[in-house]
Subunit: 340 residues, 2 copies
């Protein structure tokens, strides 16, 4: 069994912890929080040993009725690999801690590529992570872009990608972020960071991205346009998407035309926390005009990197060397059923 | 003096009425409402004679303390030209009424092109409207697209346009529309209606558009990408925009990166109702990579067609045949100062 620790039990950390628990080949040895919170109670209710960053705060947790298993350093001593799911930028500061403990570490997309020197996407470059000590799983948006670009590039070759990310303002439980009423350019300059970030996984891809933030908590939406190296075929692309383990098709028959309805659909399908792990490509949007492909895809900011992180654990531990095998096992263990 | 009637004193109608009042060559003979409302009181406070669609409702208005000047048919008898600013689809039903009254009519972009057979944008095809009896002023988004595409096409030639419209959910005072929390595909299929609508003004342009609706009331945002027929020059494009009477530059020095701040800036500039009449092109976003141009532009759904409508009146009445002259007069009369 691969022993996994989660440093930072928040939006991503709590999902990765649950996903690890579902896998036959790994187990959670502990999770960490910096202060008592609803999520700390959730960790306790799941039976995850709770470790804390600052052990002098042990009494603050214990007064709140939350048992503390020890310090983060003690948690690291129990694990083979740690998932750093702390806020963006904290991962780089934690790196020395992981090296000192001699454990492998997975960083999130909020960190720079340099934090690990390798940026990961299961469907794109799984084998590059084999046996590595430090790997960065790219952000939710980059993950969603890499999946669809790789699929199309493998079939037709991609000459240029232009994508706009319409980003959610905050996560559903995050009451401190905005905007309440604006469309915020993110950033005002072109390109956004997503294009270069895609190149950290797929260096050969010519891509320009733009991004805005809007007042919603429910998923991001991408408008993806690709110039292909040869004419595309809509039916063939639909066939490829249908066969892809991490890209789902939102079928016109569902009547779904928004992120809100798509999330409701995930709830109805029984997905934990209404999570959409795959790209939600709107079949009705899929347009091919010669060598020009365009589509909408919904990307669930809380969910899509979770399954990638599970695969990344196996690659780094070297227990499964074929990406298809890990992806299939992750999906199967989560009870993943196609959305369309 | 050109005698102007406004049928439908709502978001657009009330703005056109105010703009007409500012012009030296036209006057308002009346405006219409279907029921008593805050806007009916505004019309009274402006001194605009108020006409009503259903004259049997005269007592409902009078009980509310609003004087009724007569029926819409009576209003039409007083004017040379009527601005149909009724809700989308109503214009087509009103057309027979205008023809019967023998008055010229301007329809809004919520109607189909066929309502008038000519779709209008001041900077693009003013002269086509000269002397016409019925003209449609295209919608706010189409107006914004036409302006920037024409400018670039005239200088470099445009091989293809790809644009995404991130649309506001409703107008600021509209409490009945959504979404509260979603990104709605509008529509789920590609292209959106904006591309074909641009072609109703600029038939030679090769354009594909996509659109989503988001939870904000403050303006639309466009991501516009153009493949040029020859390499572009960023400085030259900035120079052209600066010289354009209906395209403004949002300068980086303002620090503005969102629709919300841009609207606040319009308030601070003393613009009536915080109206942005021109395209708000974000200078910081303007990217030229060889023959590939990309930019963000804010489009104020309540405002940009107002100035076009004023020009359209002059074209149809045949009083000014040079578009530059009408545009300059409209801008000057409104006290239009550049935003950047």
């Amino acid at each position: 069994m691969i022993r996994v620790a989660i440093n930072g039990y928040g939006t991503i950390g709590k999902r990765v912890a649950d996903a690890v628990t579902c896998q036959p080949d790994m187990e959670i040895v502990g999770v960490s929080k910096t202060k008592p919170s609803a999520e700390a109670y959730v960790a306790a209710s799941r039976g995850f040993p709770l470790y804390i960053a600052d052990i002098t705060k042990r009494d603050v947790f214990e007064k709140a009725g939350i048992a503390v298993a020890g310090s983060v350093e003690e948690m690291l001593a129990e694990c083979d690999i740690v998932i750093d799911a702390t806020p963006g930028g904290m991962g780089a500061r934690n790196r020395a801690l992981y090296e000192k403990a001699g454990v492998k570490a997975i960083f999130q997309g909020g960190e720079d590529h340099e934090v690990a020197g390798i940026s990961f996407s299961s469907s794109c470059n799984y084998t590059e992570a084999l046996g590595k000590d430090a790997v960065r799983v790219v952000s939710c948006n980059t993950t969603g872009l890499c999946r669809i670009i790789k699929l199309v590039d493998d079939e037709y070759g991609v000459r240029k990608v232009r994508a706009t990310m319409i980003r959610r303002g905050g996560d559903p439980g995050d009451i401190k972020r905005g905007p309440i009423d604006a469309i915020v350019l993110n950033p005002v300059t072109i390109p956004s960071h997503h294009g270069p970030d895609v190149k950290s996984v797929l260096p050969e891809i010519n891509i320009v991205t733009t991004a805005v933030i809007v007042p919603t908590t429910m998923m991001h939406m991408h408008v993806v346009q690709m110039d292909l190296k040869k004419p595309g075929d809509r039916d063939r692309i639909i066939e490829l998407i249908t066969a892809h383990p991490r890209i789902g098709l939102v079928r016109p028959a569902t009547g779904i035309t928004s992120t809100a309805e798509l999330k409701e659909f995930m709830n109805d399908l029984g997905r934990p926390r209404s999570d959409l792990w795959e790209n939600g490509v709107f079949e009705g949007s899929l347009s091919v005009d010669g060598d020009d492909l365009c589509l909408f895809q919904a990307i669930h900011q809380e969910a899509d990197v979770v399954v990638e992180t599970i695969d990344c654990i196996r690659a780094m531990m070297g227990t499964i060397s074929d990406p298809r095998e890990s992806i299939a096992l992750t999906n199967y263990s989560l009870g993943f059923t196609p959305i369309g």
